[in-house]
Symmetry: C2
Subunit: 257 residues, 2 copies
Amino acid sequence: MARIYAFANQKGGVGKTTTAVSLAAYLANAGRRLLIVDADPQANATTSLGVNSANLHHSLYDVLIGRVSLSQTIVPVERPQMDLVPSAPELAGAEVEMVSIIARERLLSKALQPVAHLYDYVFIDTPPSLGLLTINALTAADDGVIIPIQCEYLALEGLSHLLYTIQLVRDNLNPRLRVAGMVLTMFDARTNLAKEVVEEVRRHFPRQVFQTVIPRSVRLGEAPSYGEPILAYAPHSAGAQAYWELTREFLQRERGL
Amino acid sequence: MARIYAFANQKGGVGKTTTAVSLAAYLANAGRRLLIVDADPQANATTSLGVNSANLHHSLYDVLIGRVSLSQTIVPVERPQMDLVPSAPELAGAEVEMVSIIARERLLSKALQPVAHLYDYVFIDTPPSLGLLTINALTAADDGVIIPIQCEYLALEGLSHLLYTIQLVRDNLNPRLRVAGMVLTMFDARTNLAKEVVEEVRRHFPRQVFQTVIPRSVRLGEAPSYGEPILAYAPHSAGAQAYWELTREFLQRERGL
Ligand SMILES: Nc1ncnc2c1ncn2[C@@H]1O[C@H](COP(=O)(O)OP(=O)(O)OP(=O)(O)O)[C@@H](O)[C@H]1O
Ligand SMILES: Nc1ncnc2c1ncn2[C@@H]1O[C@H](COP(=O)(O)OP(=O)(O)OP(=O)(O)O)[C@@H](O)[C@H]1O
Ligand SMILES: [Mg+2]
Ligand SMILES: [Mg+2]
């Protein structure tokens, strides 16, 4: 049975997509079978895996409004052991359309049930908001949510609201939801601010935060333009090394559960 | 009568808040009267101006659900000639609550009418999504929308969808809405990718993009933690210089209209 994780943080540009795609690629490389669900209308995870949403017949949008089953949207990607449920711009309209559907928060969780057994992991990338798409991802994430946190002051501000929303989803929709981990991203060793943010997060969330800190690395910004995860694009870069270490720490944590 | 601009881009972390606050501070410093409207539930513009939303009785949320008038929420900030309509986390709930209100897209535009004459400029900061809060900002923005674009590959992806949404708002809600400018942000001169993004945007949008490019500058990341705009926190930094240049270019463009 697949372990299902959501990658969420309503603060924009903090590394949700990069972390979901990078971690997935290393796990697939280590022999796990991965399904990536792109629940962000920007379709950045879809692009980062080399898939062009304009060429597809169906996307996650069609699943949420009940037009097709999730398995009909699954496309292979250039990486072994990895599949994708792609996004498309019309997904932006789904949030308004879903408001009046019965059990609107559980649509993704239900849609995943028939296919989850085919994979070892399902990773769900989310948009930078706490709307119905992200709530659906949190409701489906039976193994928890991974929270990327950019090493910037403004990125700390929204954390308490995100944790409050996670609490609401746990109390009302998904009792299994927990914070599986916090990943510090875009760390710039040259600035004091970044060090202060790391210390602050370690002090407040000692058990949740991963030891591995992801440095700011130009290669991570370039990889999506080639449609490749960092593992394929620049495997020896600082960004790749950090995500490989994170993968090992992630697996250790899972074993320790 | 105030000139009303929205700062929008659904891609997260591209510099919407930083550009709105920085530009406003330089215009206020040049003698203009500024009102900043924080329409993002993350309340980053509120924080960046040194205001703690936890200490406030009202926020933009109370205005949109019709509980108070906009003028009752206006707070002064530490900068001369600048006022703020603060945000608060409950604003995140406004989007769902507004769905069934008549003329829900015009709520902000209507709320601004009684106070706009008190200011030279109204700047509206928006969340990283194209939901009802951003649609309200675009509907209110009679003088246009300023689009910050991060010099990263993924930041280019969502541009066509943003321009399509602007077109929809212009056709159905605000015939005056235009793209007043595109600001290239977080430019890192050490990477080819950044140069390629600048060339790409200049090629596709020669008339809209500002000549001034904002460099990646640590001071811009630090300023919000002191609750000060860059003009006050680090006026001689590369980031401050660039936003001062952008302000002059912005004023030139307005004169040329
Ligand atoms: N460690 C890093 N170093 C440098 N650049 C990075 C790093 N991680 C991500 N990036 C780049 O920074 C930008 C933001 O990252 P990403 O898109 O993964 O964030 P996100 O949280 O998914 O954004 P959104 O909120 O828009 O969904 C992207 O252009 C990405 O390529
Ligand atoms: N030119 C710059 N150089 C370095 N850091 C910057 C620059 N501009 C903004 N920042 C920092 O980068 C982060 C993202 O910027 P900002 O919050 O302004 O983006 P945004 O588009 O408003 O984000 P969101 O989508 O979450 O609203 C912030 O921590 C900010 O302080
Ligand atoms: Mg993303
Ligand atoms: Mg912002």
